[in-house]
């Protein structure tokens, strides 16, 4: 059987939030050849910009089966074989690997294939999350394997270059993979990332709340000294409904006497009467970890400050990642 020219394969790895999609969009914007195909093995959230939506139909092929070899049919191995049978055959392949894929295993596919050649294995790293990922009991090993197996490290969100964290981050990555080309990614959007948490710095870390086991979640607990503006609180919670999973509290309201219980679930907010003494004036809010949730936390803190500038918080807490 004659072997046609081999199709170059680029593997793009990195954890959720490391910037894989942003990077891919940048590649697309810079102009990938028309006959390229992008295979996405991530779950849910590829954010191809609206103006690039044609790529989604045309060139983006979604894998729906996870990383395990030989789950029953439809595996990466089979689906990739199917992609290579497309007519015309793709000119280049990019695999955006799942956050937990072992890139070495995917790279092996190109090494043994008669139709593919391995172009590059890229790994995107969120430098601000290095210590979190390195210590994570569930995924620390995969995180290291991804860095070890790549030939290009693309580093996002590196702390400012005169800080100790900056030096530590680079040294740690260098130790894990002395040979990879390190690139600092300059393409990330601006000010909100550069200075994401100034508002939340006033919140002091607390030990994780045991009831919120998942490390993808964050919760914030606030104790207000005085009554709060209920309507404003509702507006805030709804504005951030995409990252708020649940909120509840016993709160004193400016527009009413006595305390009421607040319940937010899904997108509905309910206020209920309570007989409980409002010893605390507390709000607990649970949501999806990330910049937007941090923003909301900051605004929730300010809610009281603007209402009642002289009040002091008896206890303010934001649990660290649990």
């Amino acid at each position: 059987m004659p072997t046609p020219d081999r199709v170059p394969l680029t593997v793009i790895t990195g954890f959720l939030g490391a910037g894989k999609t942003t990077y891919l969009n940048k590649l697309i914007r810079q102009g990938l050849p028309r006959d390229s195909r992008i295979v996405v093995n991530d779950f849910g959230d590829i954010n191809i910009d609206a103006e690039l939506i044609e790529y989604r139909d045309d060139r983006i092929i979604r894998l729906g089966n996870g990383c395990i070899c030989c789950t029953l049919g439809g595996t990466l191995a089979e689906q990739l074989a199917q992609v290579l049978r497309l007519k015309p055959r793709p000119g280049a392949l990019y695999i955006e690997a799942s956050g937990v894929a072992e890139p070495a295993r995917i790279a092996d596919i190109a090494r043994v294939s008669r139709q593919l050649k391995l172009e590059s294995v890229l790994c995107l790293v969120d430098a601000s999350q290095i210590s979190h990922h390195a210590r994570n009991p569930y995924t620390g090993d995969v995180w290291r394997a991804q860095i070890t197996a790549c030939d290009q490290l693309i580093i996002n969100r590196l702390p400012a270059d005169d800080t100790l964290e900056h030096a530590h981050a680079l040294a740690m990555l260098r130790a894990l993979n002395p040979h990879a080309i390190q690139t600092l990614n300059d393409s990330l959007p601006g000010p909100s990332i550069v200075n994401p948490v100034s508002a939340t710095e006033r919140l002091k870390p607390m030990p994780p709340a045991p009831s919120v086991g998942g490390f993808g979640w964050r919760s914030v607990s606030l104790n207000y000294a005085g009554a709060i503006d209920a309507a404003r609180l509702e507006r805030l919670l709804l504005e951030y409904a995409d990252v708020v999973l649940r909120a509840k509290g016993i709160l004193a309201r400016l527009d009413r006497d006595g305390s009421q219980v607040l319940q937010l679930s899904g997108r509905s907010i309910r206020w209920l009467p309570t007989t409980r003494a409002a010893a605390g004036n507390a709000l607990v809010c649970i949501g999806i970890k990330g910049a937007r949730f941090d923003e909301l936390s900051a605004k929730l803190t300010q809610l009281e400050c603007t209402q009642n500038p002289v009040a002091h918080r008896s206890k303010t807490a934001m649990p660290a990642d649990s």
């Binding site: 089966n65 030989c70 490390f215």
Partner: protein, 542 residues
Amino acid sequence: MSITIFSAKRIHTMNPSQPEATHIAVRDGRVLGVGPLEAMQELGDYTLDQRFADNIIMPGFVEGHSHALEGAMWNYLYLGYFHRVDPEGLHWAGADSITTMQQRLREGADTLAPGEPLIAWGFDPVYFEGTRLDRQLLDAAVQDRPVVVMHASLHVMTVNSQMLQQSGLHQHPGIEGIMLDAQGQPNGELQEMAAMHAIFETLGVNLFEAVSAPSTLRRYAQAARNAGVTTITDLYNPLTDDGIAALRQVTAEAHFPVRLVPAMSALAWSPEQGVERLLHCLELGNDKLQFGLVKMMTDGSIQGYTARMKWPYYHDGHANGIWNAPPEALQRMVQVYHQAGLQLHIHTNGDEAVELMLDAVQSALDLWPRADHRHTLQHCQVIDHAQLRRTAKLGLCLNMFANHLYYWGDIHRRHTLGYERSRRLEPLASARRLGIVTAIHSDAPVTPLGPLFTAWCAVMRESASGEVLGVQERVSVAQALEMITLGAAYTLRLDHKVGSLEIGKFADMAVLDQDPLTIDPAHLRDIRVLATVVGGEVHANT
């Protein structure tokens, strides 16, 4: 409306108010009454059907974890160690020696056009210790065409030299998953997706393409009927539009012999799309088609070293397994589906995967308290006692892979788990002591479909070599029978319709030649299924 009354030597109803009876009346496909014949005179005119008068009737078995892929495997040559019956009722003797296997391969090749690849399945290396199936052994049988032998686990294959040559894999001795002989050359055994990809690429077809075709579903239903199963899952169905259409088509056919319960594979869709799709499907079911389950895959398998284990990980020092999707993504899926009111069936093999999912379910319940969710951990082979206690408190159900005790028990004892953990491989008795609703399963086609065999595994806990793995975790025959009927039905949220023989429920039965409750438990696996009854319609076993 005509009434049929079946008589039996004994009916084990699984109804705690009336565990035993001799007669069962059926009208409109449902149970009109169970009891002595005298009590049935009040029901009106009836036809007495005595064909099962000397047999035992049980509720039709419920297989809570198997795959329609079972119906597609028989497109290929069966090469398993054990005797197995195909959906058409054809008996395939076990290929219990290399010589028999080679003979079977030769015969298979003779039925194909020249050069056409021969694909076989079901080979289990466990029974050939000391001999490794390699390309030479296959070449000795067939060398004029590519040969691919898929192992029973579906995680490994062995190919002949012709296949190695055609795929070019003979040139790649340094790649993980391409196993080598003493001379450092590929010996034909292939693992891992890189090597598998090269084979699929060369064959030019996907082996499992027909998995959701109507013909596959019909064969699957026949396989179920042969094993006494009247309700069966397809626990990893992407629920594409075509797939849904096929499910609706076959279940609407007259005399379709089983109720199908597909679980949507969560990873095939974004969580939001998945919820929407499944809610839409809820409208599309019928009496023999029940939608509503979601299946998630957390980790891999223990024998494939892809299950995620807690410290000290694998007994033989192998590196820990892999997540099938990022833990954050998995936890988010749990949140979304739980919040939408849907029921999750979550594949967890290793105890670290169990831990992650217990955390996820606990968070979900903290956020959205929900009584009677019946989320079910599937396989759940390695779970420690603290985790079992959490499982009970969180209201989760378990469906354990009891057949593993037999098929891979020796491997787990020696290689993957070691002595102590192999005592509590599938800790069924402990789960029962904690009041957890528990089912047991075959994961067909990974192991053969056969609830009575699965029950035997749960009762005896014997590995293939005869070692008993953890006598404390043995369950009674009565408990095991509940696990293959009402217990499994409960995990599918169908215990109000199937799983026991009580007034108002579907008249679904398994007819047996011997009484499982009086036979020596060691012979539970030898009981024959003579027929099933589905909605009052008899499907005799041929």
